[in-house]
């Protein structure tokens, strides 16, 4: 530990009230919400005591939504208006067949956003809208349990989720009226739940076997900082495959015809029950009504699923290779996902890594629990916490150059946030516009990569070929979201454009949807805007007051302090008015006046961060 405490800039030193924050595990099959109460993180149940909310949404012709178990009931009777596994569609295009394989062909339609829409009796719905319904349902549950509005949420995404998928997830939260403090990776959340961040340093593996997907991630921890070193897995491997193998076995034993779909669905349900029984017992009865009676031992079951276990281990081996590691170098293995309850999986993992995995936290809830811990810290409820989660981008980001080639601007596995600029030039005399095509992927040809956005930079002053200097800047924020800017710098004429990936919704689309959803809820739009501005005003006031108290006198002249305090007074006055625009202006005034101060504080804390080390070494 450092002798000097590492700086905690921006955190209020004044005591403040506990802020309500929650962590959300937005899963393919089930979703959960968790929060920290009296220092302990836990998932929140619904009225019926159920923690897991099935990620299923049903909509009626009148546009009435139901979410969870009540929606699941329609899966058989009204499948066209029941949306299951919507997470697979987030940020994906219709051409991603793997994403849409469990949706019927006529259920999905092309849309402007690049993502397919889902055709329902209530009209075409974006996957973002459907996910927003799930998030809203969870947030309602938390707000009821906690007795107040949530200040912010942290939502988990798979570590391999790309820019478009993260953007879609964040859009869904915005649409649900939630403030996203951060998107974090699911494996990181699981590691946090086990308190692995409290160790000094080490490498950890997160083994996540769900119903339909398998993910393995290697994390490195160094003094409270988490880094994702490598991720891998199999997007078509999970507990459902075990059920299917077991169902096949039952059919073979009982000599059943596989053509009867109803019967097959029934056998599959029985198979799932048998699998669960074999977790606790060495033998399970299989009863197919009066058609067939039998039993299966655990070792017979393990024989059946051994090819699946092998596939899991293969993915583990590959991911370790990517990270340049041997199994024995992994210190802890965290088990996530309901399918890790199967004893054979636990044994195989223990054999592979040479040590037993961590299983004490419910594998269905571990991700949500870790997310709640992070949400609590980010909301500012634990100002002395030094845990920091650093993420890397999973895929390289580049730009199309002449001949359909890709020039990489940011390499994969670069720590985010990051911004990087590259200069390009015109290739024709008098060229006044340039097309910029943003792509993602590791391959050299544009056609092999994924197109994220296209836009044109116009208004380049006519020059001879090669004379213009077009600087293209990519900026990725800490949630992994990309912004691209292009400007012509040689002539001093600047033209800048911000793009959002073509796979997301535009800001207008979101605010449009938000408006209509608020209208639907009969909430007053202007009241909501006013409330948001008041919260922002309070936040700005608190931040500036704390900053002044901390090092105002060191960094500012008396006159500067006086002017800032005057601006704060006007902000207070504005905050009591009912005009959101007026409050916004007062916030901007304070912002402008303190810009320089904030920059000086940031420089001071950068300097201080390294000063701590000088002392450390004495």
């Amino acid at each position: 530990m450092a002798l000097l405490q590492i700086a905690e800039p921006g955190q209020s030193t004044a005591p403040h009230q506990h802020r309500l924050a929650a962590g959300i595990d937005l899963g393919t099959t089930n979703s959960l919400i968790a929060t920290v109460r009296s220092g302990l993180p836990d998932t929140l149940p619904n009225d019926g005591g159920e923690h897991l909310l099935p990620s299923v949404v049903h909509v009626t012709a009148d546009g009435e939504f139901s979410v969870g178990r009540s929606a699941l009931q329609y899966a058989g009777t009204d499948p066209d208006n029941t949306i299951i596994s919507v997470k697979r569609l987030m940020g994906r295009g219709l051409e991603d067949m793997s994403a849409i394989s469990n949706f019927s062909a006529n259920q999905l339609v092309d849309s402007d956003s690049g993502m397919p829409s889902i055709r329902t009796a209530a009209g075409d719905l974006s996957p973002v809208q459907v996910s927003a319904e799930i998030l809203r349902k969870l947030a309602d549950r938390a707000e009821q349990a906690l007795g107040g509005d949530l200040t912010g949420v942290v939502i988990t995404v798979p570590a391999y989720f790309d820019e478009a998928q993260r953007q879609a997830t964040k859009d869904a939260a915005t649409l649900a009226g939630l403030k996203v403090l951060r998107l974090i990776n699911e494996p990181t959340a699981a590691a946090v739940a086990y308190g692995l961040d409290s160790g000094e340093q080490g490498l950890h593996a997160i083994f996540d076997l769900g119903g339909g997907t398998f993910d393995i991630s290697i994390l490195r921890l160094t003094k409270g900082v988490f880094e994702v070193v490598a991720t891998g897995g199999d997007s078509a491997l999970g507990g459902d495959d075990m059920d299917r193998l077991l169902a096949d076995w039952i059919c073979a034993q009982a000599g059943l015809e596989r053509s009867d779909k109803r019967l097959m669905a029934e056998v599959l349900t029985i198979a799932r029950g048998v699998k669960e029984q074999l977790t606790e017992h060495n033998e399970a009865e299989v009863a197919l009504g009066d058609r067939w009676q039998g039993s299966i031992s655990r070792s017979e079951f393990e024989q059946l699923v051994s090819p699946l276990v092998e596939r899991c281990l293969l993915a583990c081996r590959r991911t370790l290779r990517d990270a340049g590691l041997k199994p024995s170098e992994i210190e802890q293995i965290v088990m996530v996902g309901g399918s890790t309850r199967v004893p054979r999986i636990r044994e195989a993992v223990a054999e592979f890594f040479g040590r037993p995995p961590l299983t004490s936290i419910d594998p269905d809830r571990v991700v949500a629990i870790g997310t709640a811990v992070q949400a609590n810290i980010l909301a500012g409820n634990k100002p002395d916490a030094d845990m920091l989660l650093l993420d890397v981008i999973p895929l390289s980001l580049g730009v199309e150059t002449m001949g359909g080639l890709v020039e990489k601007i940011i390499d994969r596995n670069t720590t985010i946030p990051i911004s990087r600029a590259q200069e390009f030039t015109t290739y024709k005399d008098g060229q006044t516009a340039m097309a910029i095509h943003v792509v993602q992927g590791e391959r050299e040809l544009v056609d092999d990569c994924r197109s994220l956005a296209r836009f044109e930079l116009r208004g380049i002053p006519p020059m001879v070929a090669g004379a213009a200097r077009i600087r293209v800047t990519y900026q990725v924020d800490s949630d992994g979201l990309l912004g691209v800017t292009a400007e012509e710098v040689s002539s001093g004429v600047k033209s800048t454009i911000q793009v959002k990936p073509s796979y997301g919704l535009s800001d207008e689309q979101i605010s449009g949807m938000l408006k209509s959803s608020i209208e639907h809820a009969r909430e007053d739009v202007s009241a909501r805007m006013l409330r948001e501005q008041q919260v922002d005003a309070a936040r700005a006031h608190e931040a500036v007051t704390a900053a002044l108290a901390e090092n105002g006198e060191q960094l500012l002249s008396r006159e500067e302090i006086r002017r800032i305090e005057a601006a704060l007074d006007s902000l207070d006055q504005a905050a009591t008015s009912s005009d959101p625009e007026l409050i916004k202006q007062a916030i901007t005034a304070v912002d402008n006046l303190t810009q320089d101060f904030a920059a000086r504080r940031m420089d001071a804390s950068i300097a201080k961060a390294l000063v701590g080390q000088e002392l450390d070494e004495i």
Binding site: R318, S419, D477, D591, L610
Partner: protein, 174 residues
């Protein structure tokens, strides 16, 4: 932030970098300015934190990578950026390149994990060798500018080759 990358991390400018200290200081700076530290601060502070952290990450990525570090060092010391297209007469390395390219395409015929990883190790050794030579050359940048430019091109070629080997390895696992 007008500070150069080396002093940002409290390091002496030069091609040889104390990697332990670099990483250690990188984490310290992250602790101080990462946007997560400002999650409940004002929008202004969040923007500032994002910009600073992005700068720190960019500087870290440059200093951590020998090729990028050499290019950066050359551009700051000499005030000139390295030009990818510049052709330096270097017949010896040309032969080496052709030889290695041939080896790689031979592996196309019968790529197995073992021979790929053996080739990859060979390239890693060569990379290390070039890095050592670069460190020597950078000790005397005024006189050995041409050497530095040559060696940077060598590094570039070898890194690209290494990348291609990795891609072949990835295909084996698919």
């Amino acid at each position: 932030m007008s500070q150069d990358y080396f002093s940002l991390f409290g390091l002496e400018p030069g091609f040889r970098v104390d990697n332990v200290r670099l990483t250690e200081n990188f984490r310290r700076l992250q602790q101080a300015v990462h946007p997560d530290r400002f999650a409940s601060a004002s929008a202004q502070q969040q923007r500032l934190a994002l910009t600073r952290t992005a700068e720190i990450n960019d500087a870290y990525a440059v200093l951590r990578d020998p090729l990028k570090r050499a290019q950066y060092l050359l551009s700051t010391l000499r005030g000139l950026a390295t030009d990818n297209q510049s052709t330096v007469s270097d017949p010896e390395f040309l032969m080496e390149q052709m030889d290695l390219r041939e080896k790689l395409s031979d592996l196309d015929e019968q790529a197995d994990a073992k021979s790929l990883s053996r080739f990859s190790e060979e390239i890693a050794t060569r990379l290390q060798d070039k890095e050592d030579q670069l460190a020597d050359a950078f000790a005397d940048p005024e006189d050995r500018l041409t050497d530095i430019q040559k060696l940077i091109l060598h590094l570039q070629f070898l890194q690209k080759l290494q990348f291609e080997i990795e891609q072949k390895e990835d295909k084996l696992y698919q």
